[in-house]
Assembly symmetry: C2
Homo-oligomer: 206 residues x 2
């Protein structure tokens, strides 16, 4: 079960969303074709993606919805909840802290840090914005599994080094920099301008 | 020049960022190795990515920074500015409208629409939030090249159908749905919870 492409993991996440919708509608089994059409892919791809993680469903009967959903939650590491620390209390941080999608999927933002004295001490969604200087003390007090980084570009690497030192193994990075981390730490960088550039590329090269 | 993988386009965007940094520092030429180390890839990959779009640089001398940057801007469709309409004036929309990365790369948010009477008429970053019912009238008045969709899930497809009808060819979608569009329209969906799931997957399968 090594080295699954990120594109596969993303499709598994999408399949899980559809399965949960089907679950909500009381649908007991689903075909690879139904999953494929919802995920903009092919039934062959669905079968291939799922077979990689073991045997699901019976030929001609489709996949059992609750079982497959449960197995995907397990594969995606979603059977537990994660304590998430947010570094940076700017505009994007403010939107993310109120984003219900995180909590719904098991990601609880439990602490917010900033270096700006004008922001430290303010309340956001029931959390007090903490001084970034207290990062180490706060980590000693409560476990944090993941960090969401929404700092300016120049602050991103130094704070990442501190997070790595504190044992954080996963960082969702919104700062426009390529972070350098040890091999056992995963970083996912979201660059919103870059997403628009994939669109301008498509428009320019149609 | 058909069918370049999205991963290639993303790397080109990253190379352009580094080239612009080098340009700012007055560096005239850059090796594939230097571009590779900044983009977390290999020099062979850099050479392959760039050779796909023609011949750049001289063996042993590296790539000429301003020329390559200019060519990448052209390839990525960044030689022009884009008029962007934002649909939805919620928390994420509020962060995006103030996000400087968009304007820096040539994407100008020129109109914001919402259906909530409490939001319509408010000022955001110098723009008045418009009634979504006036979408067609507004498009008749001014051209809009791209849409950023930050609506609730159930509003996303109906408003996309209207945008497609109005001739929009590119949509950056933050709503947690797979949009159905004609073949000549490009959609890029950003699902922030899904980004965290690639991290939880990595933590669960290390």
């Amino acid at each position: 079960m090594r080295k699954v492409a990120e594109s596969t993991v993303r499709r598994l996440s999408l399949y899980l969303r559809f399965l949960e919708e089907f679950e909500g509608q009381g649908i007991a089994t689903v075909s690879s074709g139904a999953l494929a059409s919802r995920g903009s892919t092919t039934s062959a791809q669905v079968r291939k993606d799922l077979s990689f993680f073991g045997s699901f469903g019976k030929r001609g009967l489709g996949y059992p919805v609750p079982e497959l959903a449960g197995r995907l939650r397990e594969i995606l590491g979603l059977k537990q909840r994660y304590q998430v620390g947010m570094i940076g209390a700017g505009k994007i941080g403010g939107a993310l802290v109120q984003y219900r999608g995180f909590r719904q999927r098991g990601f609880d933002i439990v602490a917010i840090f900033d270096s700006d004295p004008a922001k430290i001490g303010r309340q956001w969604n029931g959390l007090t914005i903490l001084d970034i200087d207290t990062l180490e003390a706060e980590f000693a007090r409560r476990p944090i599994d993941m960090a969401v980084l929404v700092t300016p570009a120049d602050a991103a690497q130094p704070v990442t080094d501190r997070l790595v030192q504190l044992g954080v193994k996963a960082v969702l990075n919104f700062a426009p920099v390529q972070l350098v981390v040890p091999d056992d730490v995963v970083v996912k960088t979201v660059n919103l301008a870059l997403e628009l550039e994939t669109l301008s590329y498509a428009l320019a090269n149609r």
